[in-house]
């Protein structure tokens, strides 16, 4: 299992990095081009705000793939030392990780349900008239990938060092 995770996770991380980078870059360029278009060429981009909304949802869940894989979530580290005396660190870590995986699974499942509903009702966006189900399914799919990457990260037992890492990664 561990060897499998070791082989699969790095290329997945690379792809996820690329996807998030493209999405966020698109978001930046779209807002920039929209404003320049509006003031310089009096030609704003049609439906820019809706496109940004879609990009936001996809950026968050694509970014979540990276965050889940490395468990970079925000934590309260007030009683780390005391807790390590009560219970072995590794045991506590596994409980915490399983909890995260469980909640993430609920999120992914509910997003999928939301997408199914959107498809059934056939909701479309107001300006661009794009089907809401399309973006909902994409987001639900990304959340499933992030769940898989979370489990792979757990198998690799790669531990983020929380605050000590911050200085290097900000």
């Amino acid at each position: 299992m561990r060897a499998f995770a070791q082989a699969v996770l790095p290329p997945l991380m690379r792809i996820a990095e690329l996807v998030t980078a493209v999405l966020l870059f698109a978001m930046m360029m779209l807002t920039f081009a929209d404003v320049v278009g509006r003031y310089v060429f009096t030609a704003p981009i049609f439906g820019a705000a809706e496109m940004i909304q879609f990009l936001l949802a996809m950026t968050i869940f694509a970014g979540l793939c990276l965050v889940n894989a490395r468990d970079e979530h925000i934590t309260v580290e007030l009683f780390e030392v005391q807790l390590d005396h009560i219970m072995p660190h590794a045991v506590r870590r596994i409980i915490i990780q399983l909890f995260s995986v469980g909640v993430m699974a609920i999120i992914a499942y509910q997003l999928y349900q939301y997408a199914l509903d959107a498809e059934k009702i056939g909701t479309r966006t107001i300006v661009l008239e794009w089907p809401l189900a399309a973006v909902s399914f994409t987001v639900a799919g990304l959340s499933v990938v992030s769940l898989i990457m979370q489990v792979l990260g757990l198998l690799l037992a790669r531990e983020s060092h929380g605050i000590e890492d911050l200085g290097n990664r900000l």
């Binding site: 966020l24 950026t59 968050i60 965050v67 309260v76 987001v139």
Partner: protein, 430 residues
């Protein structure tokens, strides 16, 4: 009020155990909602809430401002900003610490994160202060404290989050943060002067800067200042929305970074963009959790029960705000800034609205209190960041060093209570 209070208690226990704050908040929210309305309703609420927030146009300002900050961080401006500040303040007693405060303020004007400000400034400002035999406490304390300017001086991510929770105008809040930010800079400078006045050996004056270094350093001031004026001016003049301002700010920050010789390879672009997206995702998981939790709290009726409690206590609006500030200071010991804003503000929103408290002013007060939380024990994130970048500093020395700055923030708090205009004057003209 019992289910809501139980929810809060369980949440705090889960967080203490080490469960990830976002996931814990989400689950307590879902279970609490289910207790009141059943599981099917709670689960579909969660899905709907997450999807709607993920597609909330107003929230798109967050990744773009984070991106702007990440570009600025990569541009390695801090060295030149520090030299530029040193050119003006270095020759005074405590001059290097004074320069640190001013350089942090400059960095904050184009970066909305206090942790990034503290991290980047630690690398730059500690070595010269060591060279001039500054005390470790003054050196590290001035950086940890001045880093908190990042969340008051716009652009500021916590102000955006407050705006969304309290349904206030992001632009107005940004503009409202300008004068309190400047006030804090002034008070921080005063805190440094006071420290060296009491113990002159803590911070001797520096030598004059080499004219060539000074010229090069001052060149960085213009792009930073222009970007700040463009972003804030655009919001102030209602030329563009905060989201558009953030997009333009990120674009401008990328240009500054490019001009300074960074972002020259595709890999560097990808890693910078992915880093900003990661920070965004960590924040949004907490936001999703807190908003689901807030649905449960609202359904439980707690915010309205609190109205009755406040009525029966005959609390004046000022009394109410002071009580909330006290709770926020306490929460600042457990959660970091975003947690306080997301968990505390919704609970008191109806009470604050009914008391007629100016919510722009209140936003500034709350953010000031979260700044306090960033440098006070036991958590004090900024202190930990300084320690993480310079591991050989003693934690106790840094906490000792921030003490005068804690005093300065408290003075700012009192002044903003006495003269609310400090926060409300500028946005009034928008």
């Amino acid at each position: 009020m019992i289910p809501a209070l139980t929810g809060f208690a369980v949440l705090i226990l889960l967080c203490f155990f080490g469960f990830r704050v976002g996931f814990a908040t989400m689950l307590v929210g879902i279970v609490g909602f289910a207790y009141l309305r059943g599981f099917p309703a709670a689960l579909s609420l969660a899905g709907q809430q997450i999807m709607e927030d993920a597609m909330n146009y107003n929230l798109s300002v967050i990744p773009l401002f984070i991106l702007m900050g990440t570009f600025i961080y990569r541009a390695e401006l801090s060295r030149d900003l520090y030299d530029a500040a040193y050119a003006g303040f270095g020759r005074f007693k405590g001059g290097l610490a004074l320069s640190t405060v001013v350089a942090c303020a400059g960095f904050s004007a184009v970066c909305g994160s206090s942790l990034a400000t503290a991290a980047t400034m630690t690398k730059v400002a500690i070595p010269p202060m060591r060279h001039y035999r500054y005390s470790d406490s003054l050196a590290s304390g001035s950086i940890a404290a001045s880093g908190t300017l990042g969340i008051m001086i716009p652009p500021s991510v916590p102000l955006v989050i407050y705006a969304i929770v309290a349904q206030q105008d992001i632009g107005k809040l940004f503009i409202a943060g300008v004068l309190p930010g400047l006030l804090l800079v002034g008070l921080f400078l005063g805190a440094v002067r006071l420290t060296v006045w009491r113990n002159p050996e803590h911070g001797p004056a520096g030598d004059p800067l080499d004219p060539e270094v000074k010229r090069r350093a001052l060149r960085v001031v213009w792009p930073v200042l222009s970007l700040f004026v463009l972003v804030l001016g655009g919001i102030y003049g209602s030329i563009f929305t905060p989201t558009e301002a953030a997009g333009i700010g990120a674009f401008g920050a990328a240009l500054i970074s490019l001009q300074r010789g960074h972002l020259r390879s595709l890999d560097e672009w990808i890693s910078t963009l992915a880093e900003a997206a990661r920070t965004t995702a960590t924040l949004f998981i907490v936001i999703f959790g807190a908003l689901v939790f807030a649905e449960f709290i609202n359904l439980s009726g707690m915010p309205y029960d609190l109205l009755d409690v406040i009525d029966s206590l005959h609390l004046s609006p000022t009394g109410l705000v002071i009580a909330i500030v006290a709770i926020a200071i306490f929460m600042g010991m457990i959660f970091e800034s975003i947690g306080i804003l997301l968990l505390l503000v919704p609970v008191f929103l109806p009470a604050l609205n009914q008391s007629g408290v100016n919510m722009i002013w209140f936003g500034i007060v709350v953010v000031l209190v979260t700044e306090l939380g960033l440098i006070t024990p036991p958590i004090g994130m900024n202190v930990f960041v300084v320690k993480a970048v310079m591991p050989n500093l003693k934690l106790a020395r840094i906490f000792a060093g921030v003490t005068p700055f804690i005093g300065a923030i408290l003075v700012a708090l009192v002044l903003i209570f006495l003269f609310p205009g400090i926060a409300t004057f500028l946005p009034r003209w928008m």
